[in-house]
Amino acid sequence: MKTAALLILGAAMASGSAFAADKWDGADDLPTNPLSCDASPPAAAAAKPYDGGKVTGAADKAGKPITLVDVPKLIGIGYFNATTKGMQEAAKEIGNVKVTTDGPTEAKIDEQIKFIDNTITRGVDGVLFAANDPVAIAPVLKKALSKGIHVVGYDANAQPDAREWFVNQAEFNGIAKAMIDAMAKEAGEDKGFAIVTSTFTTPNQARWIAEMSVYAAKCHPKLKWLETVEAQEDNVLSFNQATTLINKHGDRLAGLFGMTSVATPASAEAVTKAGLCGKVAVVGLATPNAMKPYVNAGCVKSVVLWNPVDLGYAATYVMRAVVDGKLKPGATSVEAGKLGKLNVINGSEILLGSPFIFTKDNIKDFDF
């Protein structure tokens, strides 16, 4: 009997590792659209008709005070603290908007759904969200729309018909190009690199990785893709995973990508602790304050990001414009306070701008 049980367990483990042996790069299956290898601007895509959702039975609050709830992927990390800060700035500037941020303490989809569901029961004028999963979040957002609550996304999109507008910080292929180009420049064209991501199912990260792999294949074909590892949005785990990668791949590893604002500083810390500054390049998405020590020490040369404070700021302005009826299906741009005019792309997305690259020269000018 013991043998039988051990056999079952052994078989289960063997099948698990057999699955794990396949290529497992953390990318998603959606179509990709790599940019050209040189710096020429992307060809303008054909304008798409509005494909966002429709709110039903919303009270006419044009010009009147509104209450908004913001449900980010999770609360308590620097990145979403920054978006919250931007929302508060915008709310103060506009005057008649009240916005509160509340969300799960871990980036879990069913927790996030519960928060939005409770928000609907509580009754608000609008919901701002950053989705943990674009499809899973859709039913609850559609429920909000059907109850007369306006829905605008930022940072991570949902299915288009589940929200009215989405504020896109930067296009996926733009981020991918910036990341891969920086890596090829810093690590070398024919070197190996590894990726520390949040989870393989997180939509933004999966999308970036998918775009990075096609862009790398097209423009830097000799870069060697060693491995992608998951580290949640967890500081300690990210550090441990980065350290493991360094030990496991040794000399073959010339670069690390951090795909989250948590993974990038943790990877930089792991490289610093291993005494490999200058030998292992770290390129990643992160907030400038978290990266200042490593950038100033010369261990990290480029940090790719947009300004998350601006992202939250823009989302709040977009919501106000939606409630006021100024941003309607078919619009091509929207006024967003100090950011000026933001363009509508892909039918129902509002583009914040190109990705920004922080270096030793400019990082001191940013504080978030």
Binding site: F19, T105, R122, D133, V135, A136, T201
Partner: protein, 326 residues
């Protein structure tokens, strides 16, 4: 609390100091306070919706009550939920199973996962804590390996009936949970099987010497736990519409919190289904009530923790003699 009625009638003199009754009292007070602060809280819509959100954890809490009464524990339930969810999606999308068969298959895999736990615990004598910590990691790993990090989506419309539909105005999954509660309650209260669970929890050696089929009963409860995780996964996928390998992460703690708050002793031998149900409802409604009142997510966790400690303290100090005696 209609579910309390038989309990109260059958144990009239002692019922007042029962943990479950005290807890129901605390629950009523907490609800009254929350009700004063928010007019949206005590509405039929909201309460039914909370029932919907409670079902997945609730289904796991029923067999967990059985397991904890025997003095065991199952920490792998959250991972089994993840594994079953992935099996459901994978066997339908990638292996081409018809969806109804995929549902049955996924629940079956849950049963096998629970059976493996039970087998190792009873035959190889691995302590339940260690065995299920091991399978907590193993089953989650399998879920991630099989899914290859791909989400499964685009289920047909009829599939969402279980997780989002209604029957007679009540969410479908709440009927499933109610059926589970009644069945588990009857099994625990009125059958030999139920009494065997208490006997094992009170003194396993004595139970063995009395000729009770200890190992078989344990094997059954761990298998039941796996099956419940399978059903829970089905309801969860149907509610959330997407299968992801991180589904059910951390459920084991919610489940154990509800069971233990409901008066089931972690040392075994004591506990009721009714207590578990009250514990479950209490945690869910507190979370909901606090959220509606505008308490933030991180503060909610602190308040829930404090309430858990407080109600356990109040309950155990009021019937301290029983605790000491056992």
């Amino acid at each position: 609390m209609a579910v309390l009625a038989p309990e109260i009638r059958s144990a009239a003199p002692r019922w007042l100091v029962r943990h479950e009754t005290l807890l129901a009292g605390i629950l009523a007070v907490a609800l009254a306070i929350l009700c004063v602060f928010n007019e949206n809280f005590l509405t039929v819509d909201n309460l039914l919706n909370q029932g919907r959100l409670m079902t997945e954890v609730g289904l796991l809490a029923l067999p967990m009550t059985f397991i904890i009464i025997t003095g065991g524990i199952d920490l792998s339930v959250g991972s089994i939920v993840g594994l079953c969810a992935i099996i459901l999606g994978y066997s339908w999308k990638n292996l081409g199973f018809p969806l109804p068969l995929a549902i049955v298959f996924a629940i079956g895999v849950g049963g096998v996962a629970g059976f493996v736990n039970g087998l190792m615990i009873t035959r190889v004598r691995v302590p339940p804590l260690i065995m299920t910590i091991a399978t907590l990691a193993l089953y989650r790993g399998l879920a991630e390996g099989i899914s290859q990090a791909r989400s499964v989506r685009n289920y047909p419309e009829w599939f969402f009936f279980t997780g989002q539909g209604e029957w007679l105005g009540v969410p479908v999954q709440l009927w499933i949970l109610l059926a589970g509660i009644v069945a588990a309650g009857i099994v625990l209260d009125r059958t030999t099987f139920g009494r065997t669970l208490y006997a094992i929890g009170n003194n396993e050696t004595a139970a063995r010497f009395s000729g009770l089929p200890v190992d078989r009963v344990k094997l059954i409860v761990y298998t039941l736990s796996g099956l419940a995780a399978g059903v829970s996964a089905w309801v969860l996928v149907s509610r959330v519409t997407t299968t992801r390998s991180d589904m059910g992460t951390g459920y084991e703690l919610d489940v154990i919190a509800a069971v233990v708050l409901g008066g089931t002793s972690i040392f075994g031998g004591v506990g009721t289904i009714w207590g578990t149900v009250i514990g479950l409802v209490m945690i869910q409604l507190l979370k909901n009530g606090l959220a509606l009142t505008g308490v933030k997510g991180d503060a909610t966790i602190i308040v829930i923790g404090a309430v858990l400690i407080a109600s356990t303290l109040i309950a155990s100090s009021l019937h301290g003699r029983r605790e000491v005696a056992s």
